[in-house]
């Protein structure tokens, strides 16, 4: 019950949420483009892609209790699906030659591998970005959860799957670009990636997708399904005794998280201009979970904020202190996770509570300040 209370903190009624959501949307869609230069705005677009993964992890881990340490797998599936389409588009625009993506030429591949052929179609590629990760997750999830593999076992297993995926990607250089991955993208559905104005448009598109994904995830969490999911996390066997099938409940959340990671991957490719195994392995996959832990795993908005904050802090710190920032990063994780288990969401809640009690003690008629906190 305590966890349920966490989900719906005091004063987060429908109205309050709408206000906050509108504020956040305005900040992302109006304020940020006005304040940030092209470079920083593109970075923010990148963080928003990561935040989409974080929302998915918040769903699977925060609500469903599945520590997904291998989201790189799904991020990669989505990213490669989109990257393959974009490479093919560019290759088709080449004036001459075999019209193959650049890396195939230097890997000695002469004709387009069959796996690539369907990705010529934009519709197929877009669908694949989300559906392939979801299907893979559904199959893996069904196999794993049916056997009631959970907790640390599931965590390490999902990690091993991401590791295996990376090894396969690297080994098939002619098919995937190997360690280099897919790079050197020039256009994304008509947007020229070297054109700053087109990049701003791309940012707005990413921001809208992020807000939409967030709303969907939030609806899911607040629905009856969301309650069963939390129940599975807290007492799986009781849920089973009540006649639900926890496997199906968990698979749905896992596949949902996978779909979000895939979507994030698909957007990441045009935003950053690269998709490579280095983004998908064990370390990046753990980092994804760290963002969520830092932000606050049980609150979706904070999970997303965690991704943005870590992304920002990492860029900023590594610019200012290139040789010392690993300490800072490590220490930040340790301090937050060990001493603030609810993440920044918990810190913010606690701060608000203190401020409120301080204010009410001093002057009971002054209401607590409304701004600052966004939790939904």
């Amino acid at each position: 019950m305590a966890t349920m209370a966490k989900l719906f903190p005091a004063g987060s009624g429908r109205g309050a949420f709408l206000v906050r959501f509108t504020l956040a949307a305005a900040a992302l869609l109006l304020v940020a483009p006005a304040l940030l230069n092209d470079f920083r705005l593109n970075l923010l677009a990148r963080y928003l892609c990561l935040a989409i993964i974080a929302v998915g992890i918040g769903l699977a881990w925060g609500q469903g209790g599945m520590l997904v340490l291998g989201q790189g797998l799904f991020f990669g599936l989505g990213g490669y699906a989109m990257g393959m389409h974009m490479k093919l588009e560019e290759a088709a625009a080449l004036p001459s030659g075999p019209q193959l993506p650049d890396f195939m030429t230097w890997s000695g591949v002469e004709s387009l591998p069959w796996l690539w052929v369907p990705f010529r179609s934009a519709a197929f590629a877009i669908a694949a970005c989300v559906l392939v990760p979801m299907i893979v997750a559904a199959v893996l999830g069904t196999l794993i959860f049916r056997q009631r593999v959970r907790g640390a076992y599931f965590a390490i297993l999902s990690q091993a799957m991401a590791a295996a995926f990376v090894i396969v990607l690297i080994g098939q250089q002619g098919l995937t670009g190997g360690t280099n991955g897919l790079t050197n993208f020039r256009s994304f559905f008509g947007l020229q990636l070297s054109n700053p104005d087109d990049k701003r448009l791309l940012y707005l598109f990413v921001a809208v997708v992020f807000l939409a994904v967030f709303l969907i995830a939030r609806q899911l969490v607040r629905s009856r399904y969301g309650k069963v999911l939390v129940a599975c996390r807290d007492a799986e066997d009781r849920v089973r005794f009540l006649g639900y099938d926890p496997t199906r409940v968990k698979v749905l959340a896992y596949a949902g998280a996978a779909g979000m990671a895939g979507l994030a991957g698909a957007l990441y490719v045009p935003v950053v201009g690269i998709m490579s195994p280095a983004l998908l392995g064990i370390v990046p996959s753990i980092e994804m979970v760290i963002w969520v832990a830092l932000g606050g795993r049980t609150v979706l908005a904070w999970a997303a904020a965690g991704a943005i904050i870590v992304g920002w802090a990492r860029t900023d710190l590594s610019e200012r202190f290139p040789s010392g920032w690993l300490y800072a990063q490590g220490a930040l994780f340790i301090i937050v996770i060990a001493f603030a288990p609810k993440g920044l969401a918990g810190v913010s809640e606690e701060l608000q509570r203190r401020v409120r009690s301080l204010l009410s003690r001093r002057r009971s008629e002054t209401p607590a300040p409304e701004r600052v906190k966004v939790a939904a």
């Binding site: 520590l67 340490l69 893996l140 196999l143 794993i144 056997q147 009631r148 593999v149 907790g151 640390a152 076992y153 965590a155 390490i156 297993l157 990690q159 091993a160 799957m161 590791a163 295996a164 090894i167 396969v168 690297i170 080994g171 066997d237 064990i282 370390v283 753990i286 979970v289 760290i290 832990a293 010392g324 690993l326 300490y327 990063q329 490590g330 220490a331 930040l332 994780f333 340790i334 996770i337 060990a338 001493f339 288990p341």
Partner: protein, 297 residues
């Protein structure tokens, strides 16, 4: 036939290295349900201990002496690092295994950077003692002394652990805690003490593994990351906290790696082993050796 035998030896030697790293994890993971991602960095600390002893303390004149001394000292260094970690962080995270994973990962990041600042980013070099140079050939299989030494080291470590767990009171208390923490606590076992001791021994074993690593691999700040995931897989396949399971799992993984790599190549072999593990866990989701327990958790 010769190939079969030589791969058998290589498989066993891979297994011994895996087991040496995984032994400590079996302890901490099994007893405290702590996924210690910094375990690999304790291995690194053990390797650097050997380096420091050889270069700064004894000089290159007494390689054998330095190497011999580095075994107990690396155990101590790894153990003390583990104690510090247990005392400052893990103790506070009791019952939150997934958080421990993330926190210890942060610790491992910091330890890597620390090693980089103290010893520099480039790999350092440790000379193998002269008695480990060369090897013997039996039935067409050449066996380097270094690999034989590591196999021997594992056997000794296993014997010591067996003796500790089954003959000494402290070891029996440890087993009691593994099997049923609450009941052990209720019977008067001071579980926090046992935990600390477990962590000391587990991390110490990582230090010893570090000494073995100097014989085969590179010694640099990122040494630990090369071994940690494979070691975790050994623990998972073996079953939580099961010494027997870990031994069988390490040998199985080592042999699978050696033979698969012989038939295909290193990348494919590694991916295939991962796939095999996923399939295996379909049939034995709790690993090879399962502690039977009544109850739902």
């Amino acid at each position: 036939m010769e190939v079969f035998l030589s791969q058998l030896f290589i498989g066993l030697s891979v297994a011994s290295m895996l087991l040496l790293v995984a032994l400590g994890l079996t302890f901490t993971f099994g007893q405290m349900n702590v996924i210690n991602m910094a375990h690999g960095e304790f291995v690194m600390a053990g390797a650097y201990t050997t380096y420091v002893l050889q270069t700064s303390v004894f000089g290159t004149g007494a390689v054998t002496l330095a190497f011999g001394l580095s075994l107990p000292l690396a155990f101590l260094v790894g153990g003390v690092l583990g104690l510090i970690l247990e005392f400052t962080l893990i103790r506070r995270l009791h019952g939150r295994p997934l958080d421990t994973l993330l926190v210890t990962w942060g610790v491992s990041l910091m330890l890597q950077q620390l090693a980089r600042d103290i010893f520099g980013a480039p790999n350092v070099q440790v000379k193998a003692p002269s008695f480990l140079e060369g090897g013997i050939t039996v039935a067409g299989v050449s066996m380097p002394y270094t690999r034989l030494f590591i196999i021997g080291l594992v056997v000794v470590a296993l014997l010591a652990i067996w003796f500790y767990l089954s003959k000494l009171p402290a070891g029996r208390r440890m087993r009691a805690v593994v099997q049923n923490r609450d009941l052990a606590a209720a019977s008067g076992v001071r579980t926090p003490h046992v935990d600390r001791l477990t962590f000391f021994i587990g991390s110490g074993l990582a230090g010893v593994a570090g000494v073995a690593v100097t014989l085969l691999g590179s010694i640099g700040p990122t040494l630990g990351t090369n071994y940690i995931i494979d070691a975790f897989l050994v623990v998972i396949v073996g079953g939580l906290g099961q010494l027997r399971g870990a031994i069988v799992a390490a040998i199985a993984l080592g042999l699978a790696n050696a033979y698969l790599e012989y038939w295909t190549d290193a990348s494919l072999a590694k991916a295939a082993v991962f796939a095999l593990i996923v399939v295996f866990l379909q049939f034995r989701p709790q690993g090879l050796v399962v502690t039977r327990r009544r109850g739902l958790a």
